[in-house]
């Protein structure tokens, strides 16, 4: 017996992004330890690392690695870019935000980079083990990032809530995985797929396992009824972290979920698992949109809106197909741009982290700070799905998928809840432009980094909204690669 690792050719360059990000994280820790004076340079270093990681994506070779447990495919590359974009934007907002809150440090950037590694693992893992490990790496980083501002009570509270819920949910994921393992003898998705193609749909253990698994993933996605942490955590977390948290882990979890659902495709309809997904989608859309109306805190409102948006994405997952995967990918990209942007504008508000950023704070912002106001308005219009923004295109894609796979009822519910959502998104615009600010208006402070991040988001939103074709092609090609495996 030799200790030859199970390594396929090209393995190193294929995990180059992960390696780069991991090493950059370590470098940042070291810098923080030995060169604390160079704090200002941490964020640029992190940005450089992200850019290099993005560039290194051009070297990866599609294929299965590490004993068919790690898949690199156009889809993972696409999602890697989503994670990297989200992380990049979050870092850009954090740079000034952390300085303002006086908590900047190398650990922050290190953790966010490692979290990106975790997400990549979730996206690429073909073994539930890898997925769980990635998820855990991500979670650990999130626990810390959320509570990063140790001074702020609500930051700590958010961290606590996320930690307890996260650990609890992990328990469910693990239990579900264990049950699947027991039934199939493996946690590798390919083998699970083989197993499902001959499994009994009526087997109760399988359904139990599925529910447990979906509960755990649903927690990460913040779908109802596993969503309850989201508003509190977003509110308490440093705003750039909330921005990142509201999109990136969800995207990662979606890929993992897509893979798992893909493996389960042979029996998911017969076992009524599609119905579970549909119910989750509907519940999320309804509750997210309804409760968002009642929110005055911007971050909480965005949290509920995020719950609803995941609901929309879940629609596409009900019946899995190349189009639905592409739809989710497009939606995820769009959602990254607009939601991080929206949180980003909130993060620019000159307030302490433990004070809530309410609608009143942005009253009159549209005329006080035209660019920030306009940016937030554009994000809101995009979130509500109005043309010609990316939000429209991606929602359109979702509806199209829903209709062509015959889920008309769900689509109608989605439309109706969208109408509800328009109300609270519009309310933001109303505060931006139609309400006079209070005596001492809250200002926004933005340096070049944050401004650049806003510009990236806006340009992206309109680019996708007006010329979506290239993205469609990429997404569809990626999706075909994934679904084609079975």
């Amino acid at each position: 017996m030799t200790l030859t690792p199970l390594l396929e050719p090209n393995w190193l360059q294929s995990i180059l992004p992960e390696i780069i990000l991991s090493c950059a994280g370590m470098l940042l820790i070291l810098l923080d330890a030995f060169l604390p004076g160079a704090r200002r340079a941490f964020a640029p270093v992190a940005i450089m690392a992200i850019l290099i990681a993005g560039w290194s994506e051009s070297f990866v070779v599609a294929g299965m690695y590490f004993g068919r447990t790690y898949q690199i495919s156009p889809l993972t590359v696409l999602f890697d870019f989503i994670f990297l974009t989200a992380t990049l934007l979050a870092v850009m907002y954090s740079y000034e935000y952390l300085q303002r809150q006086n908590v900047d440090g190398g650990e922050f950037y290190a953790l966010i980079l490692w979290a990106a590694v975790g997400m990549m693992m979730m996206a690429k893992g073909m073994d539930l083990l890898i997925v769980v490990l990635g998820l855990e790496l991500l979670s650990i980083c999130i626990f810390v990032l959320v509570g990063f501002n140790g001074r702020v009570t609500i930051s700590n509270e958010a961290s606590l809530k996320y930690f307890l819920m996260g650990a609890f949910a992990t328990g469910f994921i693990l239990y579900g995985t264990a049950l699947f393992y027991g039934a199939s003898g493996s946690t590798q998705l390919e083998q699970l797929g083989n197993f499902f193609s001959r499994a009994q749909p009526s087997d109760p253990t399988l359904t139990i396992a599925f529910v447990l698994l979906i509960a755990g993933f649903g927690f990460k996605l913040a779908v109802v009824p596993f969503h309850s942490w989201a508003p509190d955590v977003y509110q308490g977390a440093p705003t750039p972290v909330a921005a990142w948290l509201s999109v990136a882990p969800k995207a990662a979890t979606l890929v993992a979920l897509i893979r798992i659902l893909n493996a389960m495709l042979p029996i998911s309809t017969a076992a009524r698992w599609t119905t579970i997904v549909a119910v989750l989608a509907v519940l999320s859309m309804v509750l997210g949109n309804f409760v968002a109306i009642a929110q005055r805190d911007l971050k909480r409102m965005l949290a509920y809106s995020g719950i609803a948006h995941v609901g929309y994405m879940m629609i596409a997952l009900i019946t899995l197909g190349p189009d639905s995967v592409a739809a989710v990918a497009v939606y995820a990209i769009t959602y990254v741009l607009m939601n991080v942007g929206a949180f980003g504008v909130v993060s620019l508000l000159d307030k302490n982290q433990n004070d809530s950023q309410t609608l009143d704070d942005i009253a009159g912002l549209g005329f006080r700070r035209p660019f920030h106001g306009l940016a937030l308005a554009i994000f809101m219009f995009s979130l509500s799905g109005l043309p010609p923004t990316a939000g429209f295109i991606s929602k359109l894609y979702i509806f199209r998928v829903a209709l062509s796979s015959g889920h008309t009822t769900v689509a109608i519910i989605a439309i109706l809840t969208s109408i509800v959502s328009v109300y609270y998104y519009l309310r933001v615009v109303y505060f931006l432009y139609m309400k006079d600010s209070e005596d001492v208006p809250v200002q926004t402070i933005a340096g070049p980094m944050a401004t650049g991040a806003l510009a990236i988001s806006i340009i992206g939103i309109f680019a996708i909204g007006i010329f979506p074709t290239p993205l469609f092609q990429v997404a569809l090609r990626a999706a075909n690669g994934l679904i084609g495996n079975h």
């Binding site: 994280g25 690695y65 004993g67 447990t69 001074r151 253990t205 433990n354």
Partner: protein
Amino acid sequence: MILEYTVFFVFAAIAVIFGIVVIAHRNPVVSALSLVASLFSLAVMYILLEAPFIAALQVIVYAGAIMVLFLFVIMLLNLQKTIEPRTHPIQQFLGWTGSAAFAITITYYLAKGAVILILPSTPFEASARTIGISLFQAYLFPFEMVSILLLAAIVGALVLSQKLRPQVPLEGAEQR
């Protein structure tokens, strides 16, 4: 055979009873110690399942390291004397009945679906060696990534528990 059954039942009972003590006793120190007991009896189960390496890990890592950490924190925070106030009765009720129902449901289906699941009599090769070998062969990548995970945890623990920098006066949030 009898021995095995006896061991199983005794330690299963210990695991369950101490498990219940963990969640029922109002002193966290007692809970922690009960958990150690419960985890230890699980280690026995692992041995029954012919996984001695995991059993050893269980004792060393779990019952040993992790639980010591718990106790350490409890002591550090001086929690051994705190008596926990009662939970809201509805939460209490739903917690108990819910988990009981869950237990019954799962048990029912597991038992129903798995009656035929009799442990194979063939011996199970799960020594430290075999596990170690496969860790460095098939599971090299996850194994390496765990290092990042642990590193992140260390950094995170440091960040979270570091001494606070001077407090900026808090507005709005009530401080206890």
